[in-house]
Symmetry: C2
Subunit: 684 residues, 2 copies
Amino acid sequence: MAQARHDANAQTALDMQRARETSKLDVEAIQVFLAGRGRKRWEHGKKLQDILSREPLFSKRGREFLTRKERYIHGTRIMKRAYELQEEHGWSPAVMVDVFQKLYDPLPINLHYVAFEPVFMSQGSEELLKRYGTLVATRGIIGCYLQTELGHGTNVASLETTATFLPDTDEFEIHSPSITSTKWWIGALGKTATHGVVQAKLILPGGRDMGPHLFFVQLRSLDDHRLLPGIDVGDIGPKALGGNQANDNGYARFSRVRIPRFHMLSKFAQVTREGEYVKPPHAKLSYGGMLTIRANMVTGAGWTIARGITIALRYTTVRRQGELDESGLERQVLKYPSTYYRLIPILARSYVFIALGRRVLQAFQEMSAQLASGNTTLLPEMHAITCGLKVLVTTAGINDLETARRSMGGHGYSAFAGVGQIYADYLPAATYEGDNFVLDGQVVRAALKSHKSATATSQGSTERPPSSAYLRLLHPSASKGAQSRFTFDRQTCSSPSQLALLLEWRAAKMVAELASTVSSAEGPDASASQRVSRAVTEAFVARQVETMLGDLRVLPGGQAEAVRRLYILYLLTTVESALADLLSFDLVAFDSPSSDPARGLRLAIKSTCAAVLPDAIALTDAFGFSDWDLDSALGVHDGWVYEALLERVRQEPMNAEEVTPGYEESIKAMLEKGQRLAETRAKL
Amino acid sequence: MAQARHDANAQTALDMQRARETSKLDVEAIQVFLAGRGRKRWEHGKKLQDILSREPLFSKRGREFLTRKERYIHGTRIMKRAYELQEEHGWSPAVMVDVFQKLYDPLPINLHYVAFEPVFMSQGSEELLKRYGTLVATRGIIGCYLQTELGHGTNVASLETTATFLPDTDEFEIHSPSITSTKWWIGALGKTATHGVVQAKLILPGGRDMGPHLFFVQLRSLDDHRLLPGIDVGDIGPKALGGNQANDNGYARFSRVRIPRFHMLSKFAQVTREGEYVKPPHAKLSYGGMLTIRANMVTGAGWTIARGITIALRYTTVRRQGELDESGLERQVLKYPSTYYRLIPILARSYVFIALGRRVLQAFQEMSAQLASGNTTLLPEMHAITCGLKVLVTTAGINDLETARRSMGGHGYSAFAGVGQIYADYLPAATYEGDNFVLDGQVVRAALKSHKSATATSQGSTERPPSSAYLRLLHPSASKGAQSRFTFDRQTCSSPSQLALLLEWRAAKMVAELASTVSSAEGPDASASQRVSRAVTEAFVARQVETMLGDLRVLPGGQAEAVRRLYILYLLTTVESALADLLSFDLVAFDSPSSDPARGLRLAIKSTCAAVLPDAIALTDAFGFSDWDLDSALGVHDGWVYEALLERVRQEPMNAEEVTPGYEESIKAMLEKGQRLAETRAKL
């Protein structure tokens, strides 16, 4: 009477196959769109992925079994091999940036590319560039960027390291005057870098403190990699949650280390032979680089979320659990509303951030050109936008990765699921390039400034720069009857401009309230900064999304519609997360006192998610990740998740021997002690 | 002109000292209160902590540098040593539970105590207990509990492993019929356990499937620890984020393994010699144990959060950054509203959960006594409450640990900060003992059932059990004019009963709406289950907190007031997180359409947090953690955080040699390649 059993293992592959057959989307077209650099470069990218994934040293397998020191040394091998491949294939420096990005491992060399080289090249004097520029470009020297100290991170003005000008020898003396001045967290410093750019307070003759400036310092000998005299450098130890293991974040202490005067990065500010200070044309001229880094973080967040959500959507598509569906099998986990409500909006965010980042970066490159020519008027605008976006995308990214991981239930807690590592590596993004809570303050400061100028002038203030466009709503001429309450009916919920307008109203109301409370006796409440920063940035992004919908013209019909649906879902869920604000500021209409005005919104989210479901796998395939990229047993392309888990478990070193060495050493004695005790008791 | 520098390093200890001097609280009195078992047992606990922390093998230093296999083997040494100490000191089994708790390392033996032993003892037949009971109690055998399979976790009814009764030999045959039936995630199984209790479908002669039952199976030989014939067992590999490293979560496959009939755990259901099934008196009689585990998780969450928040509050007390305060030094990070608004409510939650868990557990022990005597009427009530609480406290605990970690800025991402490891180890609590999203569904089901019965009967329904007491508000006799809108004035914000009433109204309204939408054409929205579960549980907890305020009588005056403030803060922040619901259901009064009705609430939160600040360090000292307990460089008792970080860094193995082995192997060649390239370019 034993019935023919259903094979849940084989079913996984069937489910994945069916999920791909269900969608009519042209996956390749969306892949090209997301890659964003035209079909030709997309094809190059595919080829590159292919070469890298065939390289034995680049296999990610087994890394989880190494100690951190082994991971670091393995990382140096990877770097070396990458440059050998560059030589073999004749790759340009731009391709190498792609290469290291595609390796998804936070390698020390990334710091050379991301932090050291741009600062050195954009702020070094002609003389310095002439002497070292080529070596930097060819990585004949490897650099790091020494800013953060043990005692100070975010507050750069309080950094303690000094660079004292010595007129007698025409040198600077770099010195760490205290324990807390020890440089700390510096990527690639611990064991790799030969040189560094050091943030230090410039001290002029007579003790005049000119505040933080940048200095180029050699750290290690190019002969034998030993530390130069007066320099104490080491690794700061493992990071939390096993993140960034291959990176040698380091510390450095300088004991009166001398460097020639031209080692000061003096494209903008300078010190003359006589020890006179020459001011930069604009105090913040050197900020351009950081703005670009932050703008890049938007697209970066999109791609990071994309990896996590691809894994989660694939696994929840093939995992069946609980009640039976129409086919008589247990239901696919993704088909439960409580699952897709969590996951599909994450998919939407990854699409939005990828396109948004590109949009913002493009605008910034234009602004950077102006900046280079000395025009700094747009700087505050760029600053406010990048701060807000950085907070928004990193906060969302971290949350989304953990939501994706948790949606996979028990197996999501296996290292082999892969999402944990992405999370651990991404987590510091909330802190680096400006702690999110500090940046919130900067966004709010800019918003209050804009509000002041918008309300001070009675004319012309309806025309605002993008970062504070929402303030036009507060202008007397604009608000005439314009603020009605919004109802979450079908029309509102499918209108990007209505949803964006609602978010703009929220920003306007909240900034206005904050402006009035900062001067009140009780002041603003304690979370005002966080909430207002979020409201302001979400209003900006919502307007951008509206414009981005226009950019979808490049996609053929069905594809554009699928992406459009994700963009609208992004707006809907943003509005949902803003409900407490929207209701507090009376922006939502009640049909009747007893009806829940948010129900229409939530049903729209549910039906939009449900409409995405048949394309969910296709939309993740459109990210173009290979199994090598994802390195996840639960996110395998073919759906055979259980086989993949079993294969990974076979590699676990603890399974190499049937009886653990811990038995002879410890367990045996424990058991024997217990058995003797039991015998004694039996005799009593 | 060089000015006398302020020593930020030495300042840390001064700040910590001052923080202790500022508070007038009797820390010891609160310690005894939190420990909750009277002064005598508190003193014993202190002594135990002392003995354990002096044991060299129990030092936590250097663990972060081991591979996972080494961590496991180290864990077996710790277990062995713990039992040696038991012998030396004559500790009772109850003390040993404390011992393993205080080691804060998820060791395999914990599974013996938490899962295997209780199930075995409470559900084994007399014969089984007679044969193995003493060995289990003395750990002459080490057990594990094999429930979850590769293909099924939460849905126990679909487990595939079979236990077929063979009348000829009076045995059961345990068998894994498929890949997905492989037992998976089983703690202590991989390398440690000698025996296990296996969940398997009981198959009677003729193929009758009686669903999941429990069977006692020997896995490894007691002679040499080798696996018994027909049994394939191994470790399932590393966990995400470096969590639970010392635990050998394992897999098992059974190939027609035979066990005697009395190895079925048959205190309730039985199979006779003839193969007849004898039903248990109540289908859910075996649930008592799981309820106790979940109830224990409430206090457990409180203590876990306590560790994280102690570290964060200590560090943010001594860390100074940013603007200058009245003393002319940079402000202590904790003194920023955006910091204390995040941290003080976490402190409040740990206090609430510790006391709440004890309260619930006490109630349950009474119920368990009834259960043991066959009275199962209270079971649904216990079930609904424990499900809801488990979701509430684990969700909060995970969030709070990450918030605490992130509040520490860059240094919070160091493994030496310690919070990351607590987080990684605690993370699976969202999934084990019932996936939180599945449990939400059970809470909601119970709530809908209560709602149905409450609205069906027009009489008597004002008297409800605690889990659904809020439903009294829907009773016609109760709601007469009772639902007014709440205003967040000083009176409401300082009244536990008003705040609890508000949360009860929210629960009542949301359950009523859900009841009406489940039968509507569009159905409930996709997040309804999560939101309603939360509302129902928070209403229950709020009423409990009101009662817990009465329990504070045992504390002398000032101490009771300090804890009372934390309890009220808990209620205030719970209400704040419920704002979107409260506003949607029109429970909050607007003074005027343009004023923000939530402002009063948020200002109350701010001022309550600010009132806690002078006692923040004393209230964390009251948890009684030693530096050995916390193992955190940033949470050191004396405040010397930078010295502690430096000391830890000295132990980093990568710092043992000045030049990394990666240099000769890889870095050197990279640099030389770059230098050659630079030379070539220079010649061009």
